[in-house]
Symmetry: C2
Subunit: 111 residues, 2 copies
DNA sequence: TGAATACTTAGGTAAATGCCTAACCAATCG
DNA sequence: CGATTGGTTAGGCATTTACCTAAGTATTCA
């Protein structure tokens, strides 16, 4: 895994936008061509293409050109990577719960 | 839940940065004051403060001022929300697996 | 009280983001 | 072939982001 951190940067960045998240959801239902996807949004096509490119650059989406149409499909691996990171972060917090208790207690004692 | 989408925007945006992700990880081990946290980074303090403010604005972190120091702690709820969104996205993809098979098949048939 | 510590505010810059229009291919359709 | 359809490139613009330095304010220490 070369530069895991940069990869997470890109995935989270990609998901930090409602248009792109909606595309991910749409593609969850199955592959679709660009204009087909674009119909759901009130955006100029070049702007929309940029979003697709952001998704593709970070690997959340793959595409393939057939004839004059380009078909996109979801690639859930990066989604998993991001999910794993979050899970780990939360896990730390949870296993530290007792420590939190004693911290709050020590605060009280200092009063 | 007022404007769930905006909330996800902010959480994902917050996590799309290595410094902020590291802060989240650090706080997973327990609460810490600002300068204490800042020691792990080679950044000017005002710059670092901005990161903490981004984290706090989206609810990933809470803080409280005591005397002259401000103590931060992790708040894992938004993390959970983001995780849930991802889980749902992946779930769609998974339940659609058979449809993918038939799609690829139909592509082949068109050759 | 004066100095040190811990954070805050103000203001500035370079690069990235999100959007647009106009114009340009390339594959079909009539 | 000429027009249409589906996608792409180029270029521009306003806003946001990620950083910085300099100069505060507010506690606490000596």
């Amino acid at each position: 895994m070369p530069n895991q951190s940069l990869m997470l940067d890109q995935v989270f960045q990609a998901l930090a936008n409602p248009t792109r998240r909606e595309v991910v959801q749409l593609l969850g239902r199955g592959p679709a061509a660009m204009t087909e996807l674009a119909r759901s949004f009130k955006m100029a096509l070049p702007s929309f293409l940029q979003h697709l490119q952001v998704l593709e650059k970070c690997g959340l989406v793959r595409s393939q050109k057939t004839g004059r149409s380009r078909v996109y499909e979801l690639a859930p691996e990066p989604l998993e990577a991001a999910e794993d990171w979050m899970k780990a972060a939360r896990r730390h917090w949870e296993t530290r719960f007792d420590q939190l208790d004693s911290f709050l207690l020590s605060q009280k004692e200092n009063t």
